[in-house]
Symmetry: C2
Subunit: 146 residues, 2 copies
DNA sequence: CCAGCAATGACAACATGCTGACATTATTAG
DNA sequence: CTAATAATGTCAGCATGTTGTCATTGCTGG
């Protein structure tokens, strides 16, 4: 009934909600100096990590979000000259979202803030704990993401 | 530079974002049959766990959210007869949010769905992994929540 | 006591996410 | 090849969260 595992898991779930909110705050604080928000560096990050460029639905799939939500963000970022829409030879309508030079520069500046933050945050946490935590989170993601 | 720990942590952060979205979807799916949303069972849960009743800012503090966000949810839930505002003898304006009988019933029905879900989700995950994952998440929360 | 500070409710503006619906373009099955 | 299906862009509506502001209430240090 009140099995320890059940209580433990619900505690874990609520803690993930809480951590999620705090991480977004942290991200917003870091991105603020660069005129970004956490939603925007998610998009920049997804494109940068892809190497090439991604379509809007491609970014959405990478981030696990709806394509409509991503579209709204990319439209604004194109207005802000961080991204541009490149003609897609493989699809007449679905353009490829690419980083402009300004976007690449912002991404690099972001990393100069983000990297020390990541290292500072984890300096007193053994790498094994991080690995095992990531494994758990991934496992749960896989379980829910069908 | 590209230290393994840094990459690991960023991976962890992005995975937490992803898991957060999936958990909200799971919560919405479970709560839907009861006419709730995940935002609302967070509020119901916070009140139920408190035993007595909580003020709106009290719920917000428990959930780590802004009091305005909670106020909006509780206002709707009072309209839906799940909650009611009880006069607070200790504060002329800040009422105490309490579960109605209907609200209590919904909370109990929710648990009948949620408990099997929690057990099913974790059936193939050792309790030690859950404990260590929770410890990590808590540690990060404490680090960011000042 | 009371003057200043903190907490609260109320309202507004905004950012971010979701879903639904529709038309258009791609892909696939037959 | 063609018809059905899937993917995409676009627009709309809505839920949930944030911050800011202001008036009111409560608390606290002199």
């Amino acid at each position: 009934m009140h099995s320890p595992k059940r209580m433990l898991f619900l505690d874990f779930v609520l803690s993930v909600f809480r951590l999620n909110g705090l991480l977004i705050s942290e991200g917003d604080a870091m991105a603020e100096k660069l005129g970004l928000t956490s939603a925007r560096w998610k998009v920049i990050g997804a494109i940068a990590l892809s190497g090439r460029g991604l379509t809007v639905p491609g970014i959405a799939r990478a981030l696990g979000q709806s394509r409509q939500a991503v579209q709204r963000i990319t439209d604004v970022m194109v207005s802000d000259n961080l991204l541009f829409y490149q003609v897609n030879p493989r699809h007449k309508r679905s353009v490829i979202v690419t980083l402009t030079d300004a976007g690449t520069e912002v991404y690099n500046m972001l990393r100069e803030v983000q990297d020390p933050w990541a290292l500072g945050t984890t300096e007193d946490i053994p790498i094994e704990e991080l690995e095992s935590g990531l494994r758990l989170v991934r496992r749960l993601i896989q379980k829910f993401d069908k």
